[in-house]
């Protein structure tokens, strides 16, 4: 059997979480079918990517040391097809790519998989992703920076690092035969909801109807909700540690609640930015058409559609922001009350344990031991006796 490695390196916001959820949930079944998705936790490949790219990530990197090599070792040992998938791999440099490919072994047939969506949809989605990761840059500034040819800001360097399709594939696929480079295109809005998964599944050799996701994909925020979270970041960034931000802002507020708000306008591009992004996307498509990659879907999927109505998050109606903020306050208040109840319950448990401890300390044998220990601090004989007692007790405890 040929040892194949499918290395899915991005891009973010192209259904990657959805795909990874299916692969992780069904990893045991996939293994029976000869496909390895090696992961002991949901974010295992994310940690491996952090390790490969030596990328600090708000404290999560503490769990990542050695994660890539462990993953690569499992892949090297697997005789069939292996899948590695994380969207941040797209931003690896050539030296990192060389290290990654070398770690997979000489005898592996490596395939690069890159999923792409049209740029006009990616830009607002990336800004929202930034906002969900504590960034405070206004949307207008973000769009202005994207057009800075020198790529002076970190946010923009990251954006192009993961989203610039021809360059990502230059870095990752420079030494890979064209037929082993698979470009999966995200279907345009309004397509069948299962089409993207069918494209991935076909590439992975999986029956798309057999495996289904267990969780929903990350829904996007509306414009006033995004504006509100960006302002919240400005208030809490210096005082809220990373784990609390992830729990309360990203998960509780954004993913579990605010993204479910209906009726808010969705984020899009202003007219001039739409024109610029569309032109750029067309140059990418014509470049990609010449490269001879295996396109799973249609390159025309990457040509943006017409402009949609634009609501500016930097000047959004303050009443809508206030409405989103009140919702957020209500959510946080409920959560605070719930945690207060937990705290009260835990205090009860502590009091009960303290009572048990007091009753134990009140026994005659404990009081006698306590006196002996106190005496041993000043009395040589008592100290020697205590030492012998502890040695005897130690032996007995080891023997049982």
């Amino acid at each position: 059997m040929t040892r194949r490695v499918l290395l899915h390196v991005g891009a973010p916001k192209t259904g990657t979480s959805f795909v990874q959820d299916i692969l992780f949930t069904h990893r045991a079944l996939l293994r029976e079918r000869g496909i390895l998705y090696s992961a002991d936790r949901h974010d295992a490949h994310f940690l491996a990517a952090l390790d490969l790219m030596e990328l600090p990530w708000g404290g999560l990197e503490r769990e990542a040391a050695g994660a890539w090599e462990r993953l690569a070792a499992e892949v090297r040992d697997w005789p069939g097809t292996s899948i590695i998938s994380h969207e941040i791999l797209g931003t690896a440099s050539r030296v990192q790519v060389a290290r990654a490919l070398a770690s997979l072994g000489d005898r592996s047939e490596v395939h690069i998989v890159y999923s792409a969506r049209d740029l006009v949809r990616q830009i607002p989605a990336e800004w929202q992703e930034n906002v969900k990761h504590r960034r405070t840059m206004q949307y207008g500034k973000f769009l202005e920076n994207l057009r800075d040819e020198q790529r002076s800001t970190e946010v923009v360097q990251w954006f192009w690092g993961v989203q610039e399709v021809p360059d990502v594939l230059d870095r990752w696929a420079g030494s890979i035969p064209r037929e082993r480079v698979h470009l999966v295109t995200v279907p345009p809005a309004g397509s069948s909801p299962t089409l993207l998964w069918e494209r991935f599944a076909g590439l992975f050799g999986i029956d798309p109807n057999e495996l289904v996701p267990t969780s929903r994909a990350n829904a996007s925020l509306g414009v006033p909700e995004s504006a509100m979270i960006r302002r919240l970041n400005e208030r809490v960034n210096d005082v809220l540690p990373g784990p609390h931000y992830r729990t309360f802002v990203r998960e509780l507020l954004v993913h579990e609640n605010l993204s479910g708000r209906t009726g808010s306008p969705r984020l899009s591009l202003p007219e001039d930015a739409h024109r610029w992004a569309s032109d750029l996307a067309r140059t990418w498509v014509s470049e990609l058409a010449q490269r001879g990659y295996d396109v799973v879907g249609d390159l025309d999927d990457l040509v943006p559609g017409p402009a949609r109505p634009f609501t500016d998050p930097d000047t959004v109606d303050e009443r809508d922001v206030a409405d989103a903020a009140i919702d957020a306050l209500a959510i946080m208040t409920r959560e605070t009350a719930r945690l207060r109840d937990v705290e009260v319950e835990l205090h009860g448990v502590i009091e009960d344990l303290m009572g048990q401890l007091d009753r134990f300390h009140g026994t005659r044998s404990y009081r006698l031991k306590e006196r002996l220990v106190a005496m041993s601090r000043t009395n040589t004989l008592a100290r020697a006796g205590l030492s012998v007692y502890r040695r005897l007790r130690g032996r007995r405890s080891r023997s049982t």
Binding site: E54, E61, V95, R151, E164, D170, D238, E287
Partner: protein, 389 residues
């Protein structure tokens, strides 16, 4: 016309410049291009082709090491080390062919943002340092606590305190919690913050200089260890032991005042906290968690400081300054501290007004060029140590 990235003449020219640098050369890319009229076809093309950041860092290392330095192997290790974290990706060098239509735009290596070179240099250090034997913990010898020895307990600006402590212990004084004379040492607020930051990063911390200030401002107080007035108030309320507060702008003056209070000979204490060094250690800590694991962070931080021969107070280190945005708060918190000291009723030596930030109109940012210079020096020093062992 082929685009830069795929142009064979570009690949040969870059590989030739790389060969020059690997042999210890220091010619800049601009000069190299002017001198080399045609690309040398006999040079093997490197794979992957190094980018501007890697090559410029090798050139900076060669410049720092000077002519004739034996750096065999170090340049190869730099080229093989990926630039960690976020930043510009695979920066191409300026070339005459059509520029690439995709990817990072070409940048003259001499004009690269300092941040890019620091980023890579820290990556190199994170991989070099584990090969260096870590120093023994620097614990001053403590005299036997005989009852006739003078007892003290120092508080306040941590680096100044450590320097004074070392001298007092050498003079036979005993630091103890049993009926000591307490001396709280205060210095200008930005100096104390820089000393505090130095201690935090040496213990594995990763907080930035600007964020350290913003956090303090958000909490409305200085970190407890350097809040001189609060420390003195706590000691006065809890103990019936002699309490003195000394405040001075200069480390030597603060040390002399503290020694005078305790009847000791004035110690010779000089220098100030080096924020560029703290910045370098912070960056290393952030990366070492990934490259070596969390339990190695402190060890590597200590090793780096030892490799550079640095102390908590470095003579010649540029004066620290609060970030511009935090300067008003620094003035405010220093004024409040000075007022509290003046009204407190315990012995205050020196001018409480010396807590105020120094108005030297510095930008309040870390000098990235100095951080880079320290990183480059550390790389060379580690390489020398490896060759000796």
């Amino acid at each position: 016309m082929p685009v830069t990235g795929t142009d064979p003449t570009y690949q040969h020219a870059v590989s030739a410049w790389a060969a020059h640098l690997l042999a210890g050369g220091t010619t800049s890319w601009a000069d190299w291009r002017r001198r080399a009229t045609d690309a040398r076809a006999d040079v093997a093309v490197l794979e992957p082709l190094p980018d501007a950041t890697h090559l410029e860092l090798v050139r900076r290392v060669n410049l720092e090491a000077g002519p004739g330095a034996d750096l065999a192997g170090l340049a190869d290790r730099i080229l093989a080390t990926p630039a960690p974290g976020r930043g510009l990706l695979d920066v191409p060098l300026p070339w005459t062919g059509a520029p690439r239509r995709f990817g990072t735009p070409p940048i003259d290596p001499a004009l690269l943002p300092g941040e890019e070179l620091v980023r890579l240099a820290v990556g190199v250090l994170a991989h070099l340092l584990p090969g260096v034997r870590p120093p023994a913990p620097d614990e001053p010898q403590r005299p036997w606590p005989a009852p006739w020895r003078r007892r003290f307990r120092l508080h306040g600006a941590p680096a100044t305190v450590a320097a004074v402590r070392r001298h007092l212990l050498a003079q036979g004084y005993v630091e103890t919690d049993w009926r000591p004379t307490h001396v709280v040492i205060g210095r200008p607020v930005e100096v104390m913050m820089a000393e505090h930051w130095g201690r935090v990063v040496r213990a594995g911390g990763v907080v930035k200089w600007s964020r350290l200030w913003r956090r303090a401002e958000a909490s409305g107080r200085l970190p407890p260890q350097i809040d001189v007035a609060a420390t003195a108030a706590r000691l006065r309320d809890r103990r019936r032991e002699p309490l003195h507060v000394v405040v001075a702008r200069d480390a030597g003056d603060a040390a002399a005042l503290a020694a005078g209070v305790l009847g000791a000979r004035p110690p010779g204490v000089h220098g100030g906290p080096d924020v560029a060094l703290s910045d370098l250690v912070r960056r290393l800590n952030r990366l070492a968690v990934l490259t070596q694991g969390p339990d190695q962070v402190r060890v590597l931080a200590r090793t780096l400081v030892s490799v550079l021969g640095a102390d908590l107070l470095s003579p010649g280190a540029p004066e620290p300054a609060p970030p511009q945005a935090s300067l008003p708060w620094a003035r405010e918190v220093a004024a409040a501290g000075a007022a509290a000291l003046r009204q407190a009723g315990y012995a205050v030596h020196g001018d409480p007004g010396a807590l105020a930030p120094t108005e030297h109109r510095l930008p309040g940012t870390v000098d990235r060029e100095r951080t880079l210079a320290l990183a480059v020096r550390a790389c060379i020093r580690i390489h020398e140590l490896e060759r000796k062992s």
